[in-house]
Amino acid sequence: MTPEMKGFLLLSVIKMIVVFTVVMVGVALLTLMERKVSAWMQNRIGPNRVGPGGLLQPAADGLKNILKEETFPSAANPVLFVVAPALAFIPALLLSGVIPFAAPLPLDFDVTLPVLGRIAHHGPMPMVVADVPIGFLFVIAISSLGVYGIALAGWSSNSKYSLLGGLRAAAQLISYEVALGLSLIPILLLTGDVSFSRIIAVQQTGLWLVFPLAISFFVFLVSGFAETNRLPFDLPEAESELVAGYHSEYSAMKFSFFFIAEYANIVTVAAMVSTLFFGGWDIPFVAVGTAKPWAILTLTPGPIATLLTGLGFFAKVMFWIFFVMWIRWTLPRFRYDQLMALGWKFFTPITLGYIMLVCVVLYAGEALGLGRTLSLHLVLTGVSAVCAVALFFAVDRGLIVSGSAARRARRVGRQSSQRLTASP
């Protein structure tokens, strides 16, 4: 084994340990954050008894869940019932390995260690566990595996509520997988690559993709909510309808695994949104190494640049995690038909239309010689702004989700609906 190979392996193992630890501890703390955010939004204080400000609450919860009795329904499928939590949990954690969390760190060393022998590393080290060339395709592929865990949990529990939850999860995740995948195609068209490093590089030289691809961002965000089974899309769990949905029959640590998977999925969605649409570890107006339009500060690649960009990425991810919780404590759950209608009748055609539009703009841009970054991004931003206004102000009237009064009005007929509208 060459020293370079050993160096790569050693650094990878270190990165794995660091990322895994950060994600696991982060997930534990997110349960506390969720409870705190919900409390604040309801004018309450939230958990504050265990540790300073309630900080040790996740540790107390974890300890409790480990010590609790594991119930095992007598009619449950013995193998799948045990395997299902792991099947939900593993894909959720796998995804944290492919998202770059900071600027590459130039690292040059050639040392001889007592046990390991000679170890060397030259050139920039990407701050990601595995810089896979297939990028977001990997994320889409693995994240859709999570549904197996949920569907199998629902089926193997042999309980009507669990089964309904599992069925809903399968139908919901498959529906939104379509919109999720389609919403990422404009990114592929614009950047010409699926790898996260390339997408971040394009966003550094141009605009953050949330501006040129605003509709994609919207569809991706909403589909991401559906993929994480969070409100307003928590139909597989649906406490008020299905007891606890697919994990009704689970207790103790097996139940905890579903929770960890849910929060790990939230982290992944937040990191995906930050990376694909908000520049990843890119800090606005700060260039790292390469040239950048409107840069007011240029950092040379090094430990400081890596640390700062890492903090930038952390801030973005935290904001989107907060956003997920914010939505949860604001919106009520969708009805099942609303959920399906939104996915198939609204998002699918919208994203397909948007792909066509982006193609047309790209083709026109090429014909006019606009280049592939900044000027093209600005043109697309204008087009997307027009689309967004059209979508949210003109088209979206009861199209996404309509209230009961509006539906009744539609049923009664157009004339009476106008009369209803006219009344103050």
Partner: protein
């Protein structure tokens, strides 16, 4: 409306879900910075005026576990007239009257079973000596069921405030 029913204006136009959701999010975000309403219970109590600025103070009409008032010599004011076990709808008061050399009646045994008590406050209302009272008090945890039968000594040792049975600010109450 006379009884103050809040009539909600239902939206009967078809509104944009996204814009309505943003409005809702603005509302929940605003709530994050509003005053917290939680009472930190073991530290702050609603029987304790000093904590929480009397925000959660119990009403003076609250009817909790009993208290027997005593005179200056520390003896209970009870004259064992037997009115309270007579009126008690739950039949939870046990009274055995006694008489001293001077002919003064006093209770030999006075026990209230707080488990059977329905906290109606009739015993306090009927008492001619203003001896037995229901209290403004709610912390009654015990380790055994037997401890819920309060004897005379225990009833006299209670120090919590007693109920006024009616709202002093409402002239019709009395």
């Amino acid at each position: 409306m006379a009884i103050g029913v809040k009539v909600l204006q239902r939206p009967d136009r078809e509104v944009s879900y996204v814009r309505a959701a943003l409005k809702g999010m603005a509302l929940t975000f605003k709530h994050m910075f509003e005053k917290r309403v939680t009472m930190q219970y073991p530290e702050e109590k609603s029987t304790d005026g000093a904590h929480g600025g009397g925000q959660w103070s119990l009403t003076p009409r609250w009817r909790g576990t009993h208290r027997m008032l005593t005179d200056e010599q520390g003896r209970s004011k009870c004259v064992a007239c037997g009115l309270c076990p007579q009126i008690c709808p739950a039949n939870c008061i046990k009274l055995v009257p006694g008489e001293d050399e001077e002919g003064n009646r006093y209770p030999l045994i006075y026990e209230i079973d707080e488990f059977r008590c329905v906290f109606c406050g009739y015993c306090q209302e009927v008492c001619p000596e203003e001896a037995i009272h229901v209290g403004v008090h709610y912390e009654n945890a015990e380790y055994s069921r037997g401890r819920f039968v309060y004897d005379l000594e225990r009833l006299s040792a209670q120090t919590h405030p007693v109920s006024s049975l009616w709202d002093p600010t409402d002239p019709r109450g009395e």
